[in-house]
Subunit: 149 residues, 2 copies
DNA sequence: GATATTTCAACATGATCTTATAGGATTTAT
DNA sequence: ATAAATCCTATAAGATCATGTTGAAATATC
């Protein structure tokens, strides 16, 4: 299967949630709230946020009144960075990542194909920032409200 | 991880191998030979070839002297078809495939992003035929020979 | 200083998927 | 009849996914 893992999907929603609460001195967000809003267990969120913290995409504030905030402005965080932190690298095949993975790499007719697909995917996720996703969310919300009226 | 499974990779090499032996009344290829050439166990190849057979990308000939041949001409077999047979759908996320997978789908700001990536991947694999991969393999072989001289 | 809140860390567990191997049944050319 | 193949089913190791448990460390607030 070519499938984005739950880590990547849940982590993106986690970051989106933080981005939506981001801005002018807003307080830190606790995982409990994200868990409730996104329907993901706290335990799993705790695991997912570790690589995001290591890659400085989020900052943690310990103790009472603590929580998490974005490490940078949403306009400065690319989706490719989020996925890279969570999924390791985005390579579709092992051999595009590790040259020693397969000794046939120099004569493999399929190598270039997988590599090309990988680069295309990466470029796609490079073009999308957290700010874009927040805007997309706003758009959807507006549409939903318009429908109700 | 976004990763192509071994089924997809091995299956593509299997099909490439058949394509390289394809043409004017060539006899059927047995898995034993593909196993030796590609370094993949026969038992595993047997499993991989089942969906290829179901999707009529290969034809099987049972009994002694039997083996496998391509179901159609290499120029008429798209890589996307091979991967679709082996990987189910190429959808990067479950929800792009199954509308009932997640009830938030209508309001999910990330849905369109994953869907877009999926469509881009599919279009990429749609443009590549088995014939193209055979040509690529020829090119690599020529280069290797030139190097030796 | 005591308490409550929250992150942080190290495991453990079960479910499911992926990867790979194995044994034997069936079909067919010779 | 025999040998050469595909075909079918089972199974096991390992990885991933998701939750749970226990508790330590940090910090705001009373």
């Amino acid at each position: 299967m070519i499938r984005l893992s739950t880590k990547g999907r849940y982590g993106t929603r986690l970051m989106l949630n933080l981005a939506q609460h981001h801005g002018n001195g807003a307080r830190a967000i606790i995982l409990r709230d994200i868990s409730d809003e996104e329907g993901i267990s706290i335990r799993y969120l705790e695991q997912i946020i570790i690589p995001l913290k290591i890659n400085r995409l989020v900052k943690s504030i310990r103790g009472a009144g603590g929580g998490y905030i974005l490490g940078r402005d949403p306009s400065d965080i690319k989706l490719s960075e989020i996925l890279h932190a969570l999924e390791g690298n985005l390579f579709l095949v092992e051999c595009a990542d590790d040259p020693n993975y397969c000794e046939k790499i120099d004569t493999c007719p399929t190598f270039e194909i997988w590599k090309g697909a990988t680069e295309m995917l990466k470029a796609y996720f490079d073009r999308i920032t957290l700010k874009d996703i927040v805007a997309q969310a706003e758009k959807i919300k507006k549409k939903a409200r318009a429908k109700v009226r």
